[in-house]
């Protein structure tokens, strides 16, 4: 991974990297103003973002602690995976003193409908399963799935959704809890969910009740284009709207950090306009690139899963609640 650009914008530091490893993942660090206390970009940029599943107790020991500290000293950057970025960790930082969050939430969104978009439903349900297994409870996961593949009349294996041609895991499972289903998955509902402006009669399971200590994982998948993401084949959400929604969340202190993962075509365009601090965005393709699916299952007859999510799951399936893997390893593996 090479550092391509380093520019100082608005007092924050931006680093954009090129493609790395298998699957063309890109990522971008959005530095908080606190990091600007270190004047020169050739200094340490300590930005640590921790995504912990299931850690409630203070001081929370890491349970699946995905953590990244990017130390940008151009000369000594790690140049290729799998050398993890953790090589250049800050030495004297203890686990507990960096934690500023008290709970975890996840918002998992699948925006496409119709049978041939089976793979998007498999994507989001696989992430749901991983996130739930690693400790985030259902009451703190908002799952938005636009179409029901398990009960689709064209499904040769009814009541199941698989993410693998070998059909190892039924990601639909016995206890999936979908909060927004079918035609409820709209841009308006999504933005209302993020900003909190829901009708008073909305039940608690459909609300994002985060506070200033919450770390949120936002995973979106579907069909996208340059600067927009298609919802349900009839409307779009633009990157500007998404950035504005995050800014509204930041102003009302509804998150501590956001990990934004997006698996669509030209996904990198979606995070271009983010201007709120503490957001780490991982996209599956650059602008001008397509995000491709991984393999087809001849028994079911459609593409089963996308490449980015496939590799991401390969990593996540090997993570246990008490593992010490880092976000850098996650990024390098996808």
């Amino acid at each position: 991974m090479r550092l391509q650009e380093l520019a100082m914008i608005d007092g924050g530091y931006w680093a954009q990297t090129g493609s790395l490893g298998v699957g063309e993942a890109t990522w971008r660090i959005n530095m908080e103003r606190v990091a600007t206390a270190l004047r020169s970009p050739w200094h340490t940029l300590g930005a640590s973002y921790t995504l912990e599943s299931g850690a409630h107790l203070s001081p929370p020991p890491p349970a699946c602690s995905l953590r990244i500290t990017a130390r940008v000293r151009l000369a000594s950057l790690v140049t290729s995976c799998p050398g993890p970025l953790s090589v250049v960790y800050d030495q004297g930082v203890s686990e507990t003193s960096e934690k500023t969050h008290t709970n975890n939430w996840a918002v998992l969104v699948d925006t496409s409908r119709f049978w041939f978009n089976y793979r998007h439903v498999a994507n989001v349900l696989s992430m749901y399963r991983s996130v739930k297994r690693l400790g985030i409870p259902d009451s703190q996961i908002i799952l938005m799935v636009a179409d029901d593949m398990a009960c689709n009349p064209r499904n040769p294996r009814p009541a199941t959704v698989f993410n693998n041609a070998h059909q190892h895991i039924n990601v639909y499972g016995e206890d999936v809890e979908v909060d927004y289903r079918g035609y409820e998955v709209t841009v308006e509902n999504f933005v209302r969910l993020l900003t909190g402006r829901l009708a008073p009669s909305t039940p608690r399971s459909k609300r994002l009740l985060t506070d200033d200590g919450s770390n949120i994982l936002i995973y979106m998948t579907g069909h996208g284009g340059d600067g927009f993401l298609k919802f349900q084949d009839s409307e779009e959400i633009t990157n500007v709207e998404l950035a504005d929604a995050f800014e509204q969340m930041w102003q009302k202190k509804r998150y501590n950090e956001i990990l934004f993962i997006i698996d669509t075509c030209q996904a990198a365009s979606m995070y271009e306009h983010f201007y709120s601090p503490n957001i780490l965005a991982i996209a599956s393709s650059l602008v001008g690139e397509d995000s491709l699916s991984h393999h087809v299952d001849p028994a079911i007859g459609v593409y089963i899963i996308d490449r980015f999510t496939y590799y991401a799951l390969e990593f996540l399936e090997r993570v246990t609640p008490d593992s010490k893997k880092t976000l850098a390893q996650f990024v390098c593996s996808t």
């Binding site: 409630h56 107790l57 203070s58 409870p137 039940p203």
Partner: protein
Amino acid sequence: MSKEEDNAKNPEGAWAAAGFAVVLLVVGVPVWWFTTTVYRAQLPYSTIETLSSQLRHHTVGVTIIGSLPPSFQEDLVKSLGSMQSVKFLMSQRQPTKEERQALHSGKTPDELDRHMSQLVRVAAGMLAVVVLPEAMEIKEVVVGTDRLIYIKPTADLQVVSSVVRNMVMDPLASRYAFTNRPLHHKKEAMRQVPTEPGYDVTLTLMVPEPHRTKIEWDARAAVTDYLSPVVKQLENVSKLTVRSQVLYMTGLSVSPQWSEAHKHYALPENQLPLTINAIEAKLGSFVWTRPSLHFVVYIPREKQLPLHIHAADGSPLPSNSFLVPRWGGVMIHNVPTAAPNVSLPRPVTLDSHWIMSTVLTHLHRLLPIPSLREIEGVETLAMKDSSMLTAWQLDGLARARVSAYLSNIRITLQSLCELVGEISNMVISDEVGGWVWGAVEEWEECGRATREGRLQDATLYCTRSFTQADAAFFHPSMLALLYFPDNQKYAIYVPLFLPVSIPVLLSLKMVFGLCRKSSTKEKSE
């Protein structure tokens, strides 16, 4: 040539064009304007700006009863003056005859405190420092139950100063109110629940094996005895609704190790964070939308009795309970193991006192209620036979909450103004307008009340203002998505007006031609 003659003969064409232009401008544009402006209730933008830029501070009056060496007093004033969000008004007076008698006759700190509290009336939000005669056999600094601090003239200045500061407001709360960002690296700050007007407190008793143990616990009586007095005291500051439930057949999925040394099952500290998530769904937290605090009493399974939590260094925790920041607390209540031939389920009674005192300790940490635990050399007196809070604790809590509210309100209203300013065609309904005006008024009142030291008024105003500001901010109609931005406005109206305007504009040429014709005619004439 013919065209000009035509024009001269048909001035009607030019008059028609002029007529069209006039109708378009005078009738069309205003009609379009009035039918497409959105209703925007007027909001007090300037007031919000002025109020945001005002610095807020609490005023606390401290009366010193008795005489202190003047240097002590000056130094005390100086060190207290450095507190950021609180301004102290010091005054001094000599004790009255009855007070002097009470001071000399008091034998124990409790007795002394009782007498003095009756004699010295300290208003809510103030403090009084009583100087004790040298000869008394009492600790250097004693904090009474009703806003009185008793010090000896030989007391350490630093101790007195830190006692007063901690009593007045939790130092973390005052820093948070100033900076208004989450305080990093501070476990205590992260522990506090976010400031909201009301909380739901749920007491859950978890019995994983009801076929073995029949738990007898009168939760209602326990709550009435221990929790209700505190809840009633806190009514004006934060409304707590207490519920209780019993959860059967649900256990914590923990794997403790048998510890030979202590002869019990040891639950290591690092397994604790993973226990809550599995049971959270069953605690019923999805039922209400108010923020909730959960206190769980867990009866271990038969084969894991007795179960004790071990700290990181391997020693068992005396309290056998742990606190989850912003969520609540869990305590493990061990029951005696069953005798071999007893009939199941065997009845077991729970230790209500231990349970409720743990609950109260957790509540004190979560709310947070100011305490002087960390300061050495201070004796703090508690209310006798009651779990109620002392008056200064209540004041301290109220002050911290008022500060938090004030900064929240400022952020909410500022953000709302920005949002509304950015999208010029967002509808601001009367409802939202009313809330914003109400919030601003109450905010102003609250600021005034804190500056004048009227704590109870300030709490009341702040709570109302916060509720209204939040209601306005989170109103469903305030969604930016619903209103198209300015550049799209052009895209909509240009195709509408351009086809109509172009012919009219072009035909104005005829009008000008006519005007010039008539003016040259006049000239030539």
